[in-house]
């Protein structure tokens, strides 16, 4: 759907009318520039009020020393970058950064690997493939609280089906959510499950754009399935892969719900990532500490922006 729309964009721009007709065309169709501004004005006002202003407030929180009283009265002391320094030098910063790296890295690796394998598998149009592919979307559509609480119960130490399965195949049960050694693995498993549909759908649509005659040529040359994948599919899919992975990075960095619901970042901070740490400081304890929380959050924005800008660059290069 999007593909054809965007093709249409480029063709209409290519066939720009001659200067003389263009002027009259602009006058008749576009109207005055004020018309366009009037149509976009609600959005612009909205973006300023509900994106820019909250962001500004969050920066403001991070450079002041806010406590509950100052929060209501608005007379917090200006402390500059002290909150950022406190956060970075805190004992929690390094483990949280490392956990974030593991959580994002391992999640993406498996989401992408499994998503790609499934996309290649579903490319063979077998009977029921459409229906089954649609069913694969389910985890992505469910509210996160639903998936997270289901996984939490499945990974329950005593009554969970996962441990019952491990026992049945002769392995020792694991305290998935209550052992510091396993909690990060547990939330990563749930997160991989959540991300597979997104990777599958995007990579599948990328595969659809690889022309069939390339494969025909490969099969005439006698290349096997494995060789065809590494020589043709994977290289031709590289731009789509890059975009999928970068988007996955940006989205995974933001994750709070799944970890908060399953482990709250614990036990002993073993599954604490930056976003969850920020949430916990602000809303997770009885004593909200908005200033450090927003400092962590703003650091997170900086990290996300790096990947985000690479993504935007790649995407605009793709368009040309």
């Amino acid at each position: 759907m999007t593909t054809t729309e965007l093709d249409a964009v480029s063709t209409t721009e290519d066939q720009a009318p001659t200067p003389r007709t263009r002027r009259s065309w602009q006058r008749t169709i576009h109207g005055s520039p004020w018309t366009a501004i009037a149509f976009a004005a609600p959005l612009v006002i909205y973006l300023v009020a509900f994106y820019a202003y909250p962001l500004m407030r969050s920066v403001d929180l991070s450079v002041h020393d806010y406590n509950i009283r100052a929060f209501v009265q608005g007379d917090a002391e200006f402390v500059g970058l002290a909150n950022y320094v406190d956060v970075i030098t805190s004992d929690l910063f390094q483990p949280a950064l490392w956990n974030t790296f593991l959580f994002v890295g391992v999640s993406i690796l498996f989401q992408y690997g499994i998503g790609l394998a499934l996309a290649v598998f579903f490319r063979n149009n077998f009977r029921l493939s459409g229906v089954l592919r649609a069913l694969f979307l389910v985890p992505w559509l469910l509210p996160l609280i639903v998936s997270a609480s289901t996984w939490a119960w499945m990974m329950n130490s005593d009554s969970g089906i996962v441990n019952a399965f491990l026992l049945a195949v002769g392995m020792d049960p694991i305290n998935w959510l209550t052992s510091p050694d396993w909690s990060l693995t547990a939330v990563i498993i749930a997160n991989i499950w959540l991300g597979i549909p997104f990777n599958l759908v995007i990579l599948y649509s990328g595969l659809q754009n690889i022309p069939g005659d390339v494969y025909e040529a490969a099969s005439l040359d006698g290349a096997g399935a494995w060789k065809t994948f590494w020589r043709i599919t994977f290289p031709l899919l590289r731009p789509v892969s890059a975009i999928t992975i970068l988007l996955g990075l940006v989205y995974t960095l933001k994750v709070v719900d799944i970890i908060w619901i399953m482990t709250k970042g614990g036990p002993a901070n073993s599954s604490l990532i930056l976003s969850v740490w920020s949430y916990r400081e602000a809303f997770g304890t009885g004593q909200p500490a908005f200033s450090p929380a927003s400092a962590i959050g703003n650091l997170l924005i900086l990290i996300a922006l790096v990947f985000g800008l690479i993504y935007v660059r790649l995407q605009s290069r793709e368009e040309h």
Binding site: T35, I37, L43, M56, S129, L132, S159, I196, P239, V240
Partner: protein, 278 residues
């Protein structure tokens, strides 16, 4: 020849079987949620747990009907509010950027792409700070406004992409007939963009319905909380009633199921929109 088609059939049959196995594995947690929701409370701690609801009970669902109807109502209202707000903001903006060639349209698109990348936890702190002063904490309107920020950038990008493909001749014809820009928007552009409007509405609803972060920060002490928050409260309060928790989870999944059954092509369009442009 006949031999070849038979072989072909056998190979697809084999793939279908494999596909069914993969799908079953993937959907096992969903099955498990349904299974637990039908389990008697006394059997919940049974070890090993029963793979099938052999002695099903509806007590979990009775608890949903008795306790969760207000929460479901709140979620419905928040979802619908977000749909209206998102479409009302995004469709005219898409029209301005795509068809009225608004100046700065490209930079606006860039801003929207970046806006989608801001973590909700940061937004929620900003909103909290603002809402404390305005007295909007724990209000339905406050939650609708905050939740709408999830879908508005997506909506504008989707409408812009679609409307860019509308043939100029149509607009020209409307203009010749003396239609104003507003009239053209309402009577020509919007009817053509119906599918995009449906996709945007579905996602705006689903995301607002599923939201946990804004609800748990901006509406946690509300008189009526949305269903995501009430499931969360459930988990915290009585860990013995997992059948009721899972029954609520099943009910909270209904919009997703409805979407998948009735609007699957819009879903796929929404997932790929903005991600793959080539």
């Amino acid at each position: 020849m006949a031999h070849e088609t038979a072989a072909k059939k056998r190979s697809t049959w084999w793939k279908t079987a494999l596909g069914v196995v993969f799908t079953a594995l993937m959907l096992f947690p969903v099955y498990w949620m349904v299974n637990v929701s039908l389990t008697q409370r006394g059997d919940l701690r049974q070890n090993p747990p029963s793979l099938f609801p052999t002695d099903p009970t509806l007590e979990g669902y009775r608890a949903v009907v008795e306790q969760q109807l207000p929460a479901l109502g709140v979620s419905l209202l928040v979802g619908l509010g977000c749909v209206v707000l998102t479409v009302a903001l995004a469709a005219p903006a898409g029209y301005a950027i795509a068809l009225l060639k608004m100046r700065g349209g490209r930079s606006l698109n860039f801003i929207l792409l970046v806006a989608q990348m801001i973590p909700a936890v940061v937004m929620s702190m900003g909103f909290y700070a603002i809402y404390v002063r305005l007295g909007l904490l724990n209000s339905l309107w406050g939650l609708i406004l905050a939740d709408s920020t999830i879908a508005v950038p997506f909506g504008v990008l989707l409408f812009t992409a679609f409307m860019s493909g509308i043939p100029r001749e149509l607009l020209q014809a409307a203009r010749v007939d003396g239609a104003s820009a507003w009239r053209t928007f309402r009577s020509v552009v919007m009817p053509i963009s119906r599918n995009s409007a449906i996709t945007v509405s579905l996602f705006a609803f689903l995301w607002a319905w599923s939201d946990f972060i804004f609800a748990s920060t901006l509406a946690r002490n509300a008189e009526f909380v949305p269903v995501t928050l009430s499931i969360y409260a459930y988990i915290g309060n009585n860990t013995t009633q997992w059948n009721a928790i899972m029954a609520t989870a099943v009910v909270a999944s209904v919009p997703a199921a409805v979407l998948l059954v009735f609007a699957q092509r819009y879903v796929a369009a929404g997932v790929t929109a903005g991600a793959v442009k080539d």
